[in-house]
């Protein structure tokens, strides 16, 4: 065990005897006794050590000695480390060798209420500025795209198309089918009361093509692809890959963001169309399986109810959702901080932002379509 004994044999010398096993698992020794001795009126002018009985030691003794050294320095007491083993003497020298650079220590203080408001406002202004400049860059990139002069790698675009198109099919299939089933099920329970089971087909068909197909695939893609874009670009920022692009003369927005937005804008309508189809299939499964409608009747009823305009409107909306999701994802990724947790945060806020803008856009579309009588 740790043993510390203090001996004030000669009046002006404080002899500290260190003995026993000094190991971290036994805990740390307190320097209180030494400090109280140093605080006495007739304080010693010198501290010396006796380590003849010292057994094994590790960091724990260093912590003790470093505290003694600090206490001595504060009070101008001389420290005679000659009695320490050579290794310990060296290490203590090493720990004391580098003085703390002036102003290095971080001030950990609470900022005041007004200060926080001010900081937030300044942050907000900066964020708005950055957002505007990003939107500006996006516009320029889109113009370049239309003029067929945008610079991006075609191979990357096709890879992205595969990643956010084909590879998303399984999850889109599952969710759309279930949405179709749920819609049919709920409406069946209600419509049965009036003997109007047939209209389940109308309800599912119209709901899927007008709203649900686009909205469900958008929400899926926000979680699946928007987050992936944010994490990818965020990591590229952490590893300075973005800096490498910038210094090589590439526009980040044109080279990295544009193909991602393009890929999602191209793929979302296709996914939406597919979701519409699978959703209607899900409804049909309930219609045929539970309501005893025939496949033919169900399909005919759906075809009668769903207008081309409904489907086209849904597809248009999904393209817009795709643009919003990809932009939000990339934007959050580009604004990520420089640590691993910042990348995670960027992915999270990408999903949250995408969902918010998608739902907001959905509301705007509902209002517009209503006003336009579509």
């Amino acid at each position: 065990m740790i043993q510390v004994a203090i001996d004030r044999a000669e009046n002006d010398v404080l002899l500290i005897r260190l003995a026993g096993q000094w190991e971290l698992r036994h805990g740390l020794a307190s320097t209180d006794a030494v400090e109280s001795e140093l605080n006495q009126k007739r304080r010693p002018s010198r501290i010396a050590f006796d380590t003849r009985e010292l057994g094994r030691w590790d960091t724990s003794i260093l912590v003790f000695l470093a505290a003694v050294v600090d206490a001595c320095r504060e009070r101008g007491v001389m420290l005679d480390s000659a009695g320490l083993p050579a290794g310990l003497h060296n290490l203590l020298g090493l720990a004391e060798a580098v003085r703390e650079p002036a102003g290095a220590r971080k001030e950990l203080r609470e900022s005041g209420f007004l200060e926080r408001i001010g900081e937030h406002s300044l942050g907000l202004i900066a964020a708005v500025e950055e957002t505007l400049s990003f939107i500006g860059n996006m516009t320029v990139a889109c113009v370049q795209l239309v003029r067929m002069r945008a610079r991006y790698r075609a191979s990357e675009l096709s890879l992205l198309i595969q990643r956010c198109g084909v590879e998303a099919l399984p999850i889109v299939t599952l969710i759309s089918f279930l949405v179709g089933v749920i819609l049919a099920f709920i409406s069946a329970v209600q419509l049965r009361q009036f003997g109007a089971q047939l209209y389940v087909a109308d309800l599912v068909g119209v709901a899927m093509t007008r709203e649900m197909g686009a909205l469900m695939s958008a929400i899926l893609m926000a979680g699946r692809t928007g987050a992936a874009f944010a994490a990818e670009l965020g990591t590229m920022k952490v590893t300075q890959e973005l800096d490498a692009f910038t210094t090589a003369g590439f526009s980040i927005v044109e080279y990295l963001v544009l193909p991602r937005v393009l890929a999602l804008v191209l793929m979302m309508p296709l996914l939406c169309l597919y979701a519409d189809f699978v959703g209607v299939l899900g409804g049909a499964a309930i219609g045929v399986g539970m309501l005893d409608l025939s496949w033919t009747t169900y399909v005919q009823e759906t075809a009668r109810a769903v207008r081309l305009g409904d489907t086209a409107g849904g597809l248009f909306k999904s393209a817009v959702y795709g643009a919003l999701i990809a932009t939000a994802g990339c934007w959050r990724g580009l604004r990520a901080g420089s640590s691993a947790s910042d990348v995670g945060r960027a992915a999270t806020s990408a999903v949250v932002t995408s969902m918010i803008v998608v739902v907001a856009a959905c509301g705007v579309f509902a209002f517009l379509f209503y006003e336009l009588g579509l």
Binding site: G87, N90, L91, A95, V98, E100, L108
Partner: protein
């Protein structure tokens, strides 16, 4: 750091013995039938050209990669066939400094060093902070306890990584390219620190390096991994190797391509 009554190196069981180790990367054989041992108190340098598998060998030694063939012993214990709890116990006495420092970015320097203490000792939070501050002072980072890794320079991150590697007073420290990314003066300070730790605490060091200045300054023993023959072609103290080697590849490596 467990004991400072070291210096009894040699003679006794080597700290690490590697027997017939073959490393593969996918289906590609990197090195075959490597046999060597690291003695207590050694600063053991693993040398070799880029791509020779130095870092991969280090990953094998600390259990991050599994050998395709052969085994690694820590003292008398077979590390390769050990189960996970045995491995954990062996690795408790091992500290590793990764190439970029590999600090946990979501934690301050003090928390980086303190996490292991928190997990494996009974110290109070205040004591942990005290020990962490001392470890950081040892690597010259006094006063930087509350900084996050992203707020300090690469060299400082590396030193903080060393402070973390030393958190539990390990018997053996592994260094992956300690001087990579450091300026010559910082690199030399790190070398001196390694020697200090060995002299004061009897720490054994295994260093992967291709920095010649550092190899000659600190290496007490070494092996050379040769890419073309996929084997260890030389072993011994680096300075001695330079003096006696007949092998032109090794000579060229040790003289930066001069004196072929």
């Amino acid at each position: 750091m467990k004991t400072h009554e070291m210096a009894t190196a040699g003679g006794a069981t080597p700290y690490i013995s590697v027997r017939d180790l073959t490393m593969v990367y996918g289906s590609h054989v990197l090195m075959r039938d490597m046999t060597f041992s690291v003695n207590q108190g050694d600063v053991f340098v693993i040398m070799g050209a880029s791509g020779s598998g130095k870092s991969t060998l280090l990953r094998h030694l600390i259990g991050l990669n599994e050998p395709a063939h052969g085994s690694i012993y820590y003292r008398a214990e077979n590390f390769t066939s050990a189960d996970s709890s045995q491995r954990e116990r062996i690795l408790r006495n091992v500290g590793i400094l990764f190439q970029g420092g590999a600090l946990w970015s979501a934690m301050t320097l003090s928390e980086n060093v303190g996490l292991l203490l928190e997990e494996y000792t009974d110290l109070t939070p205040a004591q942990i902070r005290q020990v962490a501050a001392l470890k950081l002072a040892l690597v010259g980072l006094r006063g930087f306890e509350d900084y996050y890794p992203s707020e300090i320079s690469g060299g400082m991150q590396k030193r903080a990584g060393l402070a973390r590697a030393m958190a539990l007073d390990p018997d053996i420290l592994f260094f992956d390219e300690p001087s990579a990314g450091l300026d010559p003066i910082s690199a030399r300070r790190l070398d001196e620190l390694i020697l200090q730790l060995r002299d004061s605490l009897g720490i054994t060091a295994v260093v992967v390096s291709h920095d010649l200045a550092s190899i000659f300054a600190i290496g007490t023993n070494s092996i050379y991994l040769d890419v073309s023959s996929q084997a260890i072609t030389a072993s011994g103290p680096p300075a001695e190797l330079l003096a006696r080697t007949e092998d032109s590849t090794l000579r060229s490596f040790l003289t930066r391509g001069g004196n072929p």
